[in-house]
């Protein structure tokens, strides 16, 4: 059914205390849907809400308020930052927070773990049959990759949109048969907000140095060849690495097989220049990617399951050669933390970090050796987002470390006369600038980091003083 008011829709929904509601984060910090829905749930006095959102951003102020009021009892998400993350870190959530991975979330939805009662999914447009897409409409955001499993496996699926198309959609990302209701709103959000959290290529000389050395490392390891597959993030240093990667492909007349993950204009340019055959897009990071997805058949929208679900036999990342990832902390066993800061405050989450690190043939972490007086390399990371067994190399501005488990990589670098350190040596260099940080005390448990396979990987603790 199609509803023009929230009240009419909510009269039809099976609302109850303790219900699980899900949302995707394709509109990132421009999302208006979650706030609208949560306010309506508050008006209907729904209590003990379990919020399952693929990611949470500062724009989600209503969630913050409902956590503080105790109305949201639990949160399961893949990424969280801003005031809401701080509130959760302070232990304000009555229940537990579970930090999943993108692939792990898809797997758990399919496996019916923490089942979703109602999925409220923003779509940029629907046609008159109820097929939904992210590509057209007033606020296009591109791929709907993180919404597909919600639509397929939630008890009730509501598409929230601001655009109804007269022409039928030939290639909808969510087909009408998976949609129970459509809610028409004035605006699903601000599509410009999808660019939040992403950056231009770094102009910082340190970031450039790290990018240059990372590309040099890939070259020394013999990565550049026809058919190579590659994934990198949307941070400034990652984008500089993507640009360097593309430049070498172009100089040597090589063609990569695919780039995957979140897609930016840099990957789109590579596709259009014939440097890569296909883009597998689970999330568009900018308007250039959104436009490309709508017009280029080799720019392919994929679901989170097809992207990274460890149980999906067709998952894209099982064929991934190289992934470049960031870190807020790395420890001497190569465990990586991108979930919390060194005090345990939640500042992000895995997203696809742990998924791609486990599957890619080569996982390279890039990060500055210290930020202010905070060291990158520690004896034990505060929170394990990605286990060290899945991490191969660390590139910093002051040198490279290679996981001793990858003797093959170490041998190759020795052959190529590329210097590298042990991670303990890099840690010593780091401590010359920062000193050795004092161990921070862990307080009460507030939740867990869940591995992509569904096991508890690490515990999240309340931050000090609350």
């Amino acid at each position: 059914m199609t509803f023009k008011t929230l009240a009419a829709l909510f009269d039809e929904l099976p609302l109850h205390d303790g219900m699980t509601v899900s949302f995707h984060h394709h509109l990132r910090d421009g999302d208006a849907v979650m706030n609208t829905i949560l306010e309506a749930m508050e008006e209907r006095d729904v209590k003990d809400i379990h919020l399952r959102a693929s990611a949470l951003f500062p724009v989600h102020t209503v969630a913050e308020r409902l956590v503080a009021a105790g109305r949201i009892e639990r949160i399961t998400t893949n990424y969280m930052n801003g005031p809401l993350a701080l509130l959760v870190s302070k232990g304000s959530l009555r229940g537990e927070v579970v930090m999943q991975t993108h692939g792990g979330r898809a797997r758990s939805l399919i496996d019916n773990e923490r089942p979703v009662d109602v999925a409220f999914l923003a779509a940029a447009a629907v046609d008159r049959d109820g097929n939904a897409t992210g590509r057209e409409g007033k606020n296009p955001f591109g791929s709907m990759g993180y919404a597909v499993e919600d639509a397929l496996h939630a008890a009730v699926t509501v598409i929230v949109t601001d655009t109804v198309l007269d022409e039928p959609l030939t290639n909808p990302q969510i087909p009408a048969r998976e949609v129970d209701h459509i809610l028409l709103v004035d605006a699903i959000g601000d599509a410009q907000g999808i660019m939040s959290g992403t950056l231009e290529m770094t102009k910082d000389p340190l970031g450039k140095r790290i990018a240059r050395d990372a590309v040099g490392l890939l070259d020394a390891l013999g990565i550049f060849r026809d058919g190579v597959s590659f994934q990198s993030g949307a941070g400034g240093t990652s984008l500089a690495i993507s640009a360097g990667f593309n430049r070498i492909l172009a100089e040597r007349g090589l063609t990569a097989s695919f780039f995957s993950g979140g897609i930016t204009r840099y990957q789109v340019e590579a596709l259009e220049e014939g440097l890569v055959e296909r883009l597998y897009d689970v999330q568009c990071f900018d308007d250039v990617a959104v436009a490309s997805l709508a017009r280029n058949d080799n720019h392919i929208a994929i679901s989170a399951s097809r992207y990274a679900n460890p149980k999906d036999p067709e998952r894209i990342i099982k064929d991934l050669d190289v992934v470049i990832l960031g870190a807020s902390q790395v420890d001497v066993d190569f465990n990586v933390n991108v979930t919390t800061d060194s005090y345990g405050r939640i500042i992000g989450g895995s997203g696809g970090h742990a998924d791609t690190a486990e599957e890619a043939k080569l996982t390279v972490i890039v990060a500055p050796l210290f930020r202010g007086r905070t060291p990158l390399i520690v004896d034990r990371v505060r929170t394990i987002t990605t286990p060290g067994k899945d991490v191969d190399c660390l590139v910093t501005e002051r040198g490279i470390a290679v996981n001793p488990a990858r003797k093959d990589l170490q041998d190759r670098l020795r052959e190529q006369k590329v210097p590298f350190f042990t991670i303990e040596e890099l840690q010593d260099i780091c401590h010359r600038f920062t000193g050795r940080p004092a161990e921070t005390k862990r307080h009460d448990r507030i939740g867990q980091v869940e591995s992509r396979h569904g096991t508890e990987q690490d515990t999240l603790h309340k931050i000090k003083g609350e």
Partner: protein, 279 residues
Amino acid sequence: MARSYLFIPGNVPRMLTNADVFEADALIIDWEDAIHANEKDEARELTTAYLESHRPEDTLVYVRINSEAGLIEKDIEALRESTIDGVCLPKASSSVLARYEELFSDKDPYPVIALVETPTAFFELDRIAAHEHVFALFLGGEDFRTAIRAQRTENDEEILLARSMVVLAARAQDVTAVDTPFTSLQEEGLAADCLRAKALGFDAKSAIHPDQVATINRTFSPSEKEIRNALRIVKRHEEEESMRFSLDGKMVDKPVIERAKSLLEKARLYGLLPREDKE
């Protein structure tokens, strides 16, 4: 023998801490133009603390002090116990150098990079270059342009004479010639400017941004072809035990052999020799 001299503001902790990462052969920590009058004390304190705890081992470190009376005294006092390789003395002149020397009653003055940027300096360039403590002449093109009221031209023709005079004086007194920085971050322009400076005879160039260092180092390094040629000259010289011989139909004599040896020394310093010639 440095190829690149990178300016680092003396009051920015992150830039100081990471200064050695940018691969410049030499750093010039700036206490002069980049530092507002109200922040000079802070720059002195920050720089001296940095030099005490994190002075890079493999990079030459200089401080561009102030030459004005009232500031130069404080700068030298702040550097009294420091481990710097020298100072960069702005608005260099015989009188500024004399004042600089007077401030070292109890120890030898630090070696000086003389920053020549005033019209009068060019009328005593030879004396400045010949000064006991001066080991490099550094053209300050921006201030010089302003001082002579020149308009910037596409190929910097307005400073061509000054550039050539700096190189001539440097060669005459056997000191290093360092070219003025390229003030844009446009890479092609920088590469062309480096080539012009190298062609005029400069030994090195200054950089105002870390991004400029790689291009400068590349330009002021001996090329593979130059290294190969120098190796052949020195080898032939050693085999024949002669200071005068013919190679590829050209006469090779003492100055050519000495230039070849000097070039190979620079190549060795920067790890550019072919593997078998490194030992």
